[in-house]
Symmetry: C2
């Protein structure tokens, strides 16, 4: 089969030029006679890849010098634990805003370490999340160690299009599914984390961007692998890092720069999302649940009028070269994930199919 339009929520599509470069360099990276997979992580070749990936990410997001960039393992799920272990600083309580499954899980995990204050929860009677609660409705505690948000919920398709103001209390954000998709002001956050497998690179890598003054206050004797200070002191080389994943992430960062950086991505992502939501709004055949102002530009869930049509919809999509449109098992229906690597032509193909399928079955 030729390349498909891959709407997977993660692991997700990567830019084709990046994959081509990785394939071309598989047996010989830059005349070294080795694959990046085969290099010692302490050697100059890999060290240059590691440093370049950090610098490119710093450039792309304008990360201030007072923030460390860590390349860690264990995914966002491990950050659910590392955040309280490292950021509680003896305070014993933290604020969590719940806007979907991922922020709910983050809060659940934190309960093993501290008192979790749910300062806002957008769940309706059915447990569905369709909006971001306004900050004026949040019940923030002044003595919380931090405020945790998930700024894009992959399952429900709810996204923050504004930045919370938590004053002196550090703001912690799980940005796994929309990092690098739009411009952000990193200085408004104490810590940002993101699993790589959506907008960055292969699964097995998680980015942490953390303000330096928040490092070094972990609970007594945490496992070293759970201590940001240990990782920061070792420049993410406490042990062998996931070198190939970092190399792939580095290729994605370079591709982003060539495309015009995050500002250009944001422009394209707005264009792609508008095209898709406009079609869903125009065709009464399809339903969406999320409030218009809180719609995710990355993950677009929608339903057909009858779930018995789902299989035919997916089969027709596959015939047209579109895969991974099935919704998450907790939500049902369809979901189109349209990260940075999804070209406009993929969304156009989907919109044409939405029209066609509605006409035939409407």
């Amino acid at each position: 089969m030729s390349r498909v339009y891959n709407f997977s929520a993660g692991p997700a599509a990567l830019p084709e030029p990046v994959l081509r470069k990785a394939a071309a360099e598989m047996l010989d990276w830059c005349g070294s006679g080795q694959s990046v997979m085969e290099m010692s992580h302490r050697g100059p070749d890999y060290m240059s890849i590691h440093a370049q990936a950090q610098q490119d990410l710093r450039d792309l997001l304008n990360i201030p010098d007072s923030y460390k960039i860590l390349f860690l393992q264990g995914g966002g799920t491990t950050q659910f634990e590392m955040v309280p272990i490292n950021l509680l600083r003896g305070k014993g309580k933290a604020d969590y805003v719940i806007t979907g499954e991922w922020s709910k899980r983050a809060a659940q995990e934190a309960r093993a370490f501290c008192q979790v204050n749910v300062v806002a929860d957008s769940a309706n009677a059915k447990g569905q999340h369709t909006f971001v609660p306004k900050q004026s409705d949040w019940k923030l505690k002044k003595d919380a160690a931090y405020v945790h948000v998930c700024t894009n919920e992959t399952l429900g398709g709810v996204e923050y299009h504004w930045t919370p103001d938590t004053g002196k209390v550090p703001l912690v954000a799980d940005m796994s599914s929309h990092i690098l998709s739009k411009q952000i002001d990193v200085s408004k956050y104490g810590l940002i984390y993101a699993g790589a497998q959506k907008n960055i690179g292969p699964a097995g890598l998680v980015l942490v961007i953390v303000r330096e003054d928040l490092i070094g206050h972990a609970v007594p004797t945490p496992p070293p692998m759970f201590n940001y200070k240990v990782h920061a002191d070792h420049d993410s080389m406490l042990n062998t890092p996931p070198t190939y994943s970092i190399y792939m992430a580095g290729l994605v960062f370079q591709w982003l720069k060539q495309q015009g950086g995050v500002a250009e991505m944001e422009k394209r992502n707005i264009q792609k999302a508008n095209l898709l939501y406009d079609a869903l709004d125009r065709l009464p055949f399809y339903s969406t649940k999320v409030n218009k102002g809180d719609r995710s530009r990355m993950n677009v869930p929608f339903t057909l009028p009858d779930a018995r049509l789902d299989e035919a919809f997916l089969a027709g999509a596959k015939e047209r070269g579109m895969v991974q449109l099935k919704g998450h098992r907790l939500i049902g229906g369809m979901r189109a994930s349209i990260y940075n690597a999804m070209p406009l032509s993929g969304v156009e193909t989907l919109v044409a199919y939405l029209n066609e399928f509605a006409q035939k079955n409407g």
Copy 2:
């Protein structure tokens, strides 16, 4: 540059046919129109890769059905912590045998969780490790929760060529740098772990092979990422696993099967190691420290008569297409790592160069 002979201790050389296959499949795995990096870990394509890798590893090492195979993240270093967290089972003490830097670090990390009994330590007055203490000299405790060994020490080049008998106390082995290089009787072990970046695949993946009755006794409320039961219950899919690393490991497992399995690898590894050690023994120009009976077939450290010759030795090696021969900073001198993927021709090239260099400089 054409492909080099890469003697890195890890991340280390991979079989060239595996790299060629991965490069060929980078944009389209088996007609799916996607790279393995881009596949949902819950989809049938990736699930088949995951299951096949497990089955192939089970076949290669004759792993009994009563053992679980886990594909985890965080490297061997995370296992230094997960082993005590999961295997102490309220016993409060564990036995550690120290034969080099890695077993020493494992014991150090365990001290945060329990009383560590060092039942044998081969360090000499200079802190060097050159042999495996005979089991008759070990001071094992009957009430220890487990006995931990590192069966191949990558830095010093010390390897167990026999299997300890610890009776009813589970034997735990860090086999990171020689797993799949020789036949083992898995049933003699309670738990085996191995970072992938030497004999298996890319860094960022660690294998755990654990007897089922040892699962499910973790300390109260460990972080879920540190709990073998949670990972076993989720078939290593508690969160997104390092899918591409597992795919690469799976390609290596299939290559091993095509070569004739672990028995054939063991034969070749003995041949390669004998060739190299014979040359080092024959040429008085070079010195080795490790007791002959405990020499590693994977990592061969040696020194020149004068460290001022080291740079010239490494430069000449590079000219001849051999890289990563510099010894570990803690040990100095040279080190040739000759894992499964190192062909006999690489060792022959090295031996020819050892002769040549000794003649010129001896």
